[in-house]
Every structure is written in structure tokens, then in C-alpha cells.
């Protein structure tokens, strides 16, 4: 399998503090990679670095073999920020049509993105009138436009109802199976088993990198939450 993202010696400084310390990992095409860790551990900073909007990044960070943030990558990466970054005063369709024009994606991709996030019945509603969960789905739909080959999704399932969460993970799975690299962050450890591969993060470092079963086996734990605790204790020793 080919690597979509290759990272080595990645460091990020924010203010005067180093928040990511010497990370090495890769993300493969066709795999659903979960980035798990507590709030504040550096997940968002790492994702911003992948997308190329984070300042003060050192080390090597390539996407499709090009340095992250290169102009040629901008139409190939779908990025969902934690806050739903869409226009409150436009309808779902208007929002997506605008982003599709910016990306140069065909108008038909708007309809299919709306269907993927299950918002067809709300397509002509103004985003302000939608619930928080619906709003974050609009944001997700915007990231799906133009069939990106790398999806960077920052906590896309937070606060959603379990049925919808299930559906969205199904969507992420489908996108990965279609050949895209998909990286999804979450601070909810019970989402771990839905991923092919996990990067467990804590305090700006990667604690473990492997499939959920590998990590559980390594830590001799029954679930990822306990594996995480064991690994933290081991690291402290």
C-alpha cells in the first residue's frame, strides 16, 4: 500500500512552547486512521500541519510526496475543522455550491455530498436554523467535494447521535475503501475499534501506532482506554 502522508521529525512550536515533539508516522491510502488522545494533546495542531495551515512547522512532512501546504495539494485534501466552518446565513446548498466553485468541483458533486451526509431534506434550509450536529455535517459535506485523496477530519462525530455516528463511520470506511487516506481525530476512545489503524497521542507525542488489536495486545489490555492508561504508565516509568 502506498503512503499518502509521510512524517518524520515533525515539530511544531506555538508561542514559545513546543507542542508537537519529533513525530514520525505515515498514513496509507485505503486505510482509516484514527488519531486518538485527550483534549489538548496536539491532535488539531497535527491536523493543521498536515493541511498546511499551521505555522512554525519543522521536520519533514509530505503529502503525495510534496511538502504539506503546497499549492498543488490544496484541491486534493478535504479538511474539516473542529468548529463547523460554513456560512451561517447561507443554505446548505448555497454553502456547498460556493465551496465547489472554489475547488473547481462539478456541480453534481454538491448533490452527492449532501446525500452522503444525509441532509437532502434540509438542503434548502439556512445553516443557522440547523442543529449543531447538522451543521457539522454541512462542514463535512464541504470537505467531501471534489473527491479528495486525503481526508483530514478533526472530531467530526462529536455530539452526534449514535445512529448518525455509525452512518458517518460507514461513510469514512467507504471513502477509505475507494482509495483515499482518511485520518479522523477523536477524544472518545470507544471510537478506536472502528479504525484500521490508530495513532494514540498524549502531550504532543505519539504513544502508540498500530492496529487496534496490536495496541491492545501490546498493552495487554481489553480495550483501548485501558491500553492507553497502561502505555502512559509504562512511558512514565
Amino acid at each position: 500500500m502506498n503512503n499518502v502522508v509521510e512524517v518524520s521529525g515533525l515539530r511544531v512550536v506555538r508561542g514559545k512552547r513546543e507542542v508537537l515533539h519529533d513525530l514520525d508516522f505515515s498514513i496509507r491510502a485505503g486505510e482509516l486512521t484514527g488519531l486518538l488522545g485527550p483534549s489538548g494533546c496536539g491532535k488539531t495542531t497535527l491536523m493543521r500541519a498536515l493541511v498546511g495551515v499551521q505555522a512554525k512547522v519543522t521536520g519533514s512532512l509530505t503529502v503525495h510526496g510534496e511538502p504539506a501546504g503546497s499549492a498543488s495539494l490544496r484541491s486534493r485534501i478535504g479538511y474539516v475543522t473542529q468548529a463547523s466552518s460554513v456560512y451561517d446565513d447561507l443554505t446548505v446548498t448555497e454553502n456547498l455550491r460556493f465551496f465547489a466553485k472554489v475547488l473547481g468541483a462539478p456541480a453534481s458533486s454538491v448533490t452527492s455530498a449532501i446525500e452522503t451526509v444525509d441532509l437532502a431534506s434540509h438542503a434548502d434550509q439556512v445553516v443557522r436554523d440547523l442543529s449543531g450536529g447538522q451543521r457539522s455535517r454541512v462542514s463535512l459535506a464541504a470537505a467531501l467535494l471534489g473527491s479528495p485523496s486525503l481526508l483530514v477530519l478533526d472530531e467530526p462525530t462529536v455530539g452526534l447521535d449514535p445512529v448518525l455516528r455509525e452512518q458517518l463511520w460507514g461513510t469514512f470506511r467507504t471513502l477509505a475503501e475507494a482509495g483515499a487516506g482518511v485520518i479522523v481525530s477523536s477524544h472518545v476512545m470507544d471510537e478506536a475499534d472502528r479504525c484500521d489503524r490508530l495513532l494514540l497521542m498524549r502531550e504532543g507525542a505519539i504513544l502508540a501506532d498500530g492496529s487496534p488489536s496490536e495496541i491492545k495486545q501490546k498493552a495487554n489490555a481489553e480495550d483501548i482506554e485501558h491500553a492507553f492508561l497502561t502505555l502512559v504508565k509504562e512511558a512514565a516509568r
Partner: protein, 245 residues
């Protein structure tokens, strides 16, 4: 930079304004109402004061309104995360800024068109020069407000700060533009300062249009204001960073 993306941004901004009916009505009607108020104030005055300060205000109102609207809208775009999303997409900074300038320029055209039509047609504002050129000057002034608004929004972290830039950036220009004291009667230092402020040229252009049919000076003033617009947009583009801390 691409025309398609610039137009997409402009179209989106206009769609947002169109949905916000109150803002739309205020944008179109307020400057006209203020001009009418001014005309009424001097209705019984024997001196032609309305004819003297009316043109300057036709330059100042669109400038103020567009400055405020633009700085707040852009700030909202920064704080909502949509700017970050756009800059992670293949959108040029120039596309973003020109899109805004285009959308607000169009709104300014409507706003100034109505204000000039009412001032000249109903309120009897005497214009010696070309009325069409008066509208052009008003539009360029509004775009100047947009350009400066885009620029200062980069230095504002909150909407409170953005609004404070109005007394900081706009009011001194109004005081020194020749509206209250003719610029050549200002103390030397202030006159020199007023010489480098864009609104001075905008008001000069309006005043020329009212007093003479000779358009040479108007075009020079207009070129200076346009220069400030380009410089403001270029500086604004330099303050837009794809990578943020």
C-alpha cells in the same frame, strides 16, 4: 488568481447580504436619509451651505458604511474558521480580497446611485460637472472604505476592536478632509497630514465636480484614491496568512 474564484467569492458575499434584509435596506437607504436630513437642516439658511458640504458628504457616507461593513464581515470570516477553510483550498488571497471588493463595490454603486439621484434630483444639489462622474467618484470612495476595512480587520482580534478602528482611522480623515476647515487653512503640519490621507482626495474630487466642468483635477484625485485602494488591497493581501500559529 482566477476569475471564476473571484466571482464565486463576490457572488457568495452578495448572497449573504441579500439574505440579511435589514442590512440590505440600511445599506441602500441610510446615506440618502442622511443627505435628506442635511438638506432639511439648512432649508431656512440663506447661505448655500447644503451645496457646499453636500458633495463632501456624498464621498464620506459610502466610505464610512463600507469601511464598517467590510471590517466586521471579514473579521467574522476569520473567527468562524471559514477563512482557514478557504485558505486550505485552492483560493488565491487576491481572489478573496478582490471578491469582497467587487461585491461591496457593486453594493456601493447602488448605494451611491440612489444617494446621488435623490440629492441632485429631489434635494436640488447644484452640480456643475458631470453627475455620472459624481457617481463614479462615490463608488471609488466606497471601494476605498472596503479596502481599508479589509486591511484593518487583520489587526482586530474582536468585533469590538474592529469597530474602534472607525474613530481611529475614519474620523481623523473626516476632520482633515476639508469638510470643516478648508485644507489650505489648516496648520502646516495638519495640512501635510491631510495631503497623505485618501479621503482628502475623494472630497477634493467631489468639490471639483460641483464647482467646475473641468474634469482634469477630478481624474487626478480619482487616480490618487484608486492608488490607495490598490495599496490597501495589496497590504491586506500581505496580512492574510495561510499558515497561522
Amino acid at each position: 488568481m482566477s476569475l471564476r474564484r473571484t466571482l464565486a467569492v463576490a457572488g457568495r458575499v452578495l448572497a449573504q447580504v441579500r439574505r440579511d434584509h435589514r442590512t440590505l435596506v440600511m445599506l441602500v437607504v441610510l446615506p440618502t436619509l442622511l443627505m435628506s436630513l442635511l438638506w432639511w437642516m439648512y432649508e431656512d439658511s440663506p447661505a448655500p451651505i447644503f451645496d457646499r458640504i453636500g458633495p463632501a458628504l456624498l464621498a464620506i457616507f459610502p466610505f464610512i458604511v463600507m469601511f464598517l461593513v467590510t471590517s466586521v464581515t471579514t473579521l467574522r470570516e476569520r473567527s468562524s474558521g471559514t477563512l482557514e477553510r478557504l485558505l486550505a483550498m485552492p483560493l488565491g488571497k487576491g481572489d478573496f480580497l478582490l471578491g469582497y471588493a467587487l461585491a461591496f463595490g457593486l453594493l456601493a454603486a447602488v448605494q451611491s446611485g440612489v444617494a446621488v439621484a435623490v440629492s441632485v434630483g429631489l434635494l436640488g444639489l447644484e452640480i456643475t460637472g458631470s453627475v455620472g462622474l459624481l457617481v463614479v467618484v462615490a463608488i471609488v470612495d466606497a471601494v476605498l472604505g472596503t479596502a481599508l476595512g479589509l486591511l484593518v480587520s487583520a489587526f482586530a482580534a474582536t468585533e469590538f476592536q474592529a469597530v474602534q478602528f472607525m474613530p481611529a482611522i475614519v474620523v481623523p480623515q473626516i476632520l482633515l478632509c476639508g469638510l470643516l476647515v478648508p485644507r489650505d487653512s489648516l496648520p502646516g503640519v495638519l495640512e501635510a497630514i491631510s495631503d497623505v490621507l485618501p479621503l482628502s482626495y475623494a472630497v477634493d474630487a467631489m468639490t471639483h465636480l460641483v464647482t467646475t466642468t473641468d474634469t482634469g483635477e477630478v481624474w487626478t484625485d480619482l487616480a490618487v484614491v484608486a492608488g490607495f485602494v490598490v495599496a490597501g488591497l495589496a497590504l491586506g493581501s500581505a496580512t492574510l496568512r495561510r499558515r497561522t500559529p
